[in-house]
Structures are given as C-alpha cells and as structure tokens.
C-alpha cells in the first residue's frame, strides 16, 4: 500500500478503527479461536471435566461414515448448483448482451431472485413441489412419477438444487453480463470478418476472454453452495430424508444444536474454516488482480 497517510492524529486514528476492531475481535476472532481450542478437547457426558486430546476429535470425525456421506452430499450438491446456475446465468447474459429491445425489462425481472432470501425461495418451491397440492408435484404425479421429497432422498436433493440454482441465477447473470460488456466489440467483429460463425466466435473468442469472470464466479458459487444454502436446506428438507440432503454446514448446525459432542462439532467447524480460507485465498490470489497490498 503506498503511503498516502496525511493526517497524523494517532489518537483519532485509533478511535476511528476501534469499533470495527472491537467487533472483529469479540465476534470473529474470539469465537473462531474458541472453536479451534474446543476441537482439541473432549468433555465428559456431564460437562464436568474436559481433557485435552490433540487431534482425537478429528480422527473420530474421519472415522464416522456419516461425515463422508456429508462430504459426498456437499460436493454433489455444489457441483450441480455451480454448473446449472453458471450455465443458465451465462446463457441469459449472452442473450441479453445482444442489441435487442426491452433488455432493461428482462434484466429487471432476472435480478429478482437475488433479493429473495434463500429460506423464502425455498418456501416458494416447496409450495409448487408439495405432493398432493403443488402444481408441479401434481403434474409429475399425473405422469406416473411418485414425487415425494419427504420420503425420497433423490427428490429432496433435486428440490434443494432447483431452489439454490434459482436463487443464484441473478448473481451470475449480472456478473456475466458485466464481463461480456467489457469485451471489445472490435475483437468479435474482426473474427466475423474472418468468417467465424456466431457459435464459433463464442467458444473461441468470447468464452476465453470471459474466463476471469467465469473463474471468479466458480469460486463465489462454490462458497454460496457450501455456506449460504443453510436456509434452503433447513426450510425444505431439514437435511433429510436420512441425511440425504445434509451438507457439511448443515451437519455442523444439526450437531451443534443437539449439543452432545462439543469437540466433534468444533472440529467440523474448523474444517469448514479451512475450506473458506482456501476458497478466499484462491479468490484473491488468482482472481483479484486489482487489489494490491
């Protein structure tokens, strides 16, 4: 950071950074440190004594089949959400980038899902997919599909993927549109003069030039699928049936709420923290070239 510091009131500077530092320390660093510390402890059944056990909680965690199941669920869910929300967002952005009438109107509608809370989006879809009364559920049942997300794990997974994708389309659409608009028209025109058809122009010129945006969005969407979908899962499936929609974050939430295994729950939190740190580091290291420190 270049030195632009111009004022020299040290006391004033400290007062100015104090609120943010205080809140960061009390509500971010202290709880995070607590989670790390607790992940090395084992508490007896009555909460009377605790023992320092090094990595035993982690080892135990990695011995439980449910944990691997949750890892698998998280990756499967994230893969589907990231792929479909990016693909749909890109398709819509490419279409909206053409010089056509009414783009403003389309855009106004397409940004709506961003404003809808994940839990509320979930409710909208539960209503359509509720067996017996939901419009889509009934259509599926008429066509011989025994749709029931409460009993069928695959159906539950499909439901939360649809909600998460719907919720995330706006975001990807807006960023892809901004990315497309920053590609110089002259490059594309030059390719057209050379005789490249639109599809070829897209895959050989536009898509590669868009790759910084795509990469950024992949990281952001993974973060979204991992962490911001808790409201969707809690409202639609509560992780069920039989843990088939219980992602890592949701499992931390469930296990912590049950409150029986503080150390194990803390160990899960720490693993998640490491995942966030890696994702954030990738995002800033490879994507954000504009931030210089």
């Amino acid at each position: 950071m270049e030195n632009r510091a111009i004022f020299s009131g040290r006391l004033l500077a400290c007062l100015l950074v104090f609120p943010q530092l205080a809140i960061s320390l009390i509500f971010f660093y202290w709880p995070a440190a607590q989670a790390v510390w607790q992940s090395f402890l084992v508490q007896d059944a009555f909460g009377l004594s605790t023992e320092f056990v090094w990595f035993e909680n982690y080892v135990n965690l990695l011995k439980t089949p449910e944990y691997y199941h949750a890892i698998g669920t998280t990756f499967f869910f994230s893969l589907l959400v990231v792929f479909f929300s990016l693909a749909i967002g890109l398709l819509l952005a490419v279409m909206a980038n053409r010089n056509i009438a009414g783009v403003q109107i389309y855009r106004t509608f397409l940004i709506i899902p961003y404003a809808v809370a994940p839990a509320v989006a979930s409710v909208l879809f539960i209503f359509m997919f509720q067996p017996g009364l939901g419009m889509i559920a009934r259509a599926l049942q008429r066509n011989g599909i025994d749709w029931n997300p409460v009993l069928n794990g695959n159906h539950a997974m499909i439901l939360i993927v649809i909600v998460a994708v719907w919720n995330q389309i706006s975001y990807n659409f807006l960023f892809f549109l901004a990315g497309l608009q920053s590609i110089p028209k002259s490059v594309i025109e030059a390719a057209a003069i050379d005789g490249a058809r639109p599809a070829r122009r897209f895959w050989t010129i536009v898509f590669p030039l868009l790759s910084p945006t795509t990469f950024f969005l992949i990281v952001v969407n993974i973060t979204y699928a991992f962490f911001n979908t808790l409201g969707i899962i809690d409202t639609a499936t509560e992780g069920g049936p039989n843990g088939s929609t219980s992602t890592l974050v949701y499992k931390v939430f469930l296990d912590g709420k049950a409150g029986s295994d503080l150390g194990g729950s803390a160990a899960q939190s720490v693993i998640l923290m490491i995942i966030v740190i890696v994702l954030t580091a990738i995002q800033f290291r490879y994507v954000e070239k504009k931030v210089h420190y």
Binding site: C14, L16, N99, L174, M273
Partner: protein, 282 residues
Amino acid sequence: MVEHRRFGNLLPHLVLIAGVIVVAFPVYLAIIASTHDNTVIANGQMPLYPGSHAFETYWNTIVSGTGRTTREPVGSMLLSSFVMAVGIALGKIAISIISAYAIVFFNFPFRMATFWTIFITLMLPVEVRIFPTYKITSDLHMLDSYSGLILPLIASATATLLFRQFFMTVPKELVEASKMDGAGPIRFFFDTLLPLSVTNIAALFVILFIYGWNQYLWPLLITTRDDMQTIVIGIKKIIDVKDALTEWSVAMATAVLAMLPPVAVVVLLQRLFVKGLIETEK
C-alpha cells in the same frame, strides 16, 4: 450483432422470456395463492388467477393471526426484520467508512496489522463459528435483543475494502487544499470525503439491506422470543412440510411480505444495486 440474421432477434427474446418465466412464476404463484382460500389450495385446484380472499388473508397474516395457530402476527416480524436490516446496513457502513478513513489517511502504529485484522474476517463467515459466537452473545446478555441481532454481523471486511479502494482514488491535492484552508481531519471527512462517497454509500446500503433482511441462521439461533423473530425465520414455523394442515394462503402471504421490501429495493434502485453488487464483490 455483426451479420444479418435471418430470424432477427427471435432467439434471444425466446430465451430471455423463458428465463423471465422461470424466475417470475414461483413469485407469481405465491401472490396468487395468497388471495385464495385454504381449502381451494389444499385440494390442489387453485386457479392461476387471483381469488377473492386477499384482504382476509393479509389481515389474518399481518394483524390478527388465525384461529388454529398461536403464532405471532407477521406485522411484528416485519418490524424486527426492518430494524435488523437497517441496523446492519447502517452499522456496517458507519464502522467501515471510519476504519477505512483511518487506514488510508492516517499514519499510526500497526496500520497494516489493523488492515489485515479486518481483512481476515472475510474468512470467518458466521456459518463456521456459529456456536462459539452464540455463546459469547449469550454471555454478553444479548440474546433476544436488537444489539444481539445486529452487532455480531456488522464487522464487514468487504465494506472496508470498498471504501479503502475508493479513498485511494481521492487525489492528494484535494486533501492538501483542504488542509490549506485550515480543515482538520474531522472537517475534511465531513465536508469533503463524505459528500464524495454518497453514491458508494447508497450502493452499499442497498446490498447490505438485502443481506441483513435475508439473514437466516443468526436470527434463528439468537431469538427465542416470538416477538423478536424476523419474517425470514418466522415463515418456517408457518409451513410444515410433513404436516398436511399447513395454512398455505397464510404461508404464501408471509412469503410475499418477506420478499416485498428487498425486491422493491432491488427493482426501484436497480442502478445502485448493480453498482453495489459488482463493486463490493470485486
């Protein structure tokens, strides 16, 4: 854009119309359901046009509650959500604009350490430190209070980064001129920097208002009293997927009310929203 297209722009319009239908249909259906009687919805015979029970449904939802349930009317949830969203948005803006100001314009010990301390909070989202944060909030006696809903969420590295980026583009001459006129740091902040930041503040407010309004996990944990609940978590108690007796018209009216403020903000302040979104995330 370059060559002549035989079918004009038919394809983009078709794709975009399909996109708009996918995006808008669930919302439309919720609005329609909130105007019909429960029994019509429960039969699965709900038509696609509005019914005649809108007033009754919204009255029951917002003000009185319904006969069978003992739930809190949604009116008080709307208030909680509103206080929380505005509190988070203003709080984040206030503390991050002053800390960014100190980091960019002041020389003080541990300046870089301070910057990094703030920056690293990006890596500690509430989801990964839920229960320890809950415990601290409870130790500070902030459960079921607005300060408990707001304070733990208002430290924001993104807002600080945004203001920092923007402050670094402010020409040095401006500061020097202002100093020459005899302005101290506080006057410079209020007379020069704040007016320059208005658009950024407004764009950030739009994003943070939506962020605050749509919070789920945190309010779910720290509100135990019904009258402190926000609408986003209140809605879960109205629907019960496994219970056939869900009052869907009330649930959908609640969903509509929960969507209305953030959707209105995004649609009406579209330009600010897009600016805020693209800039805070970059």
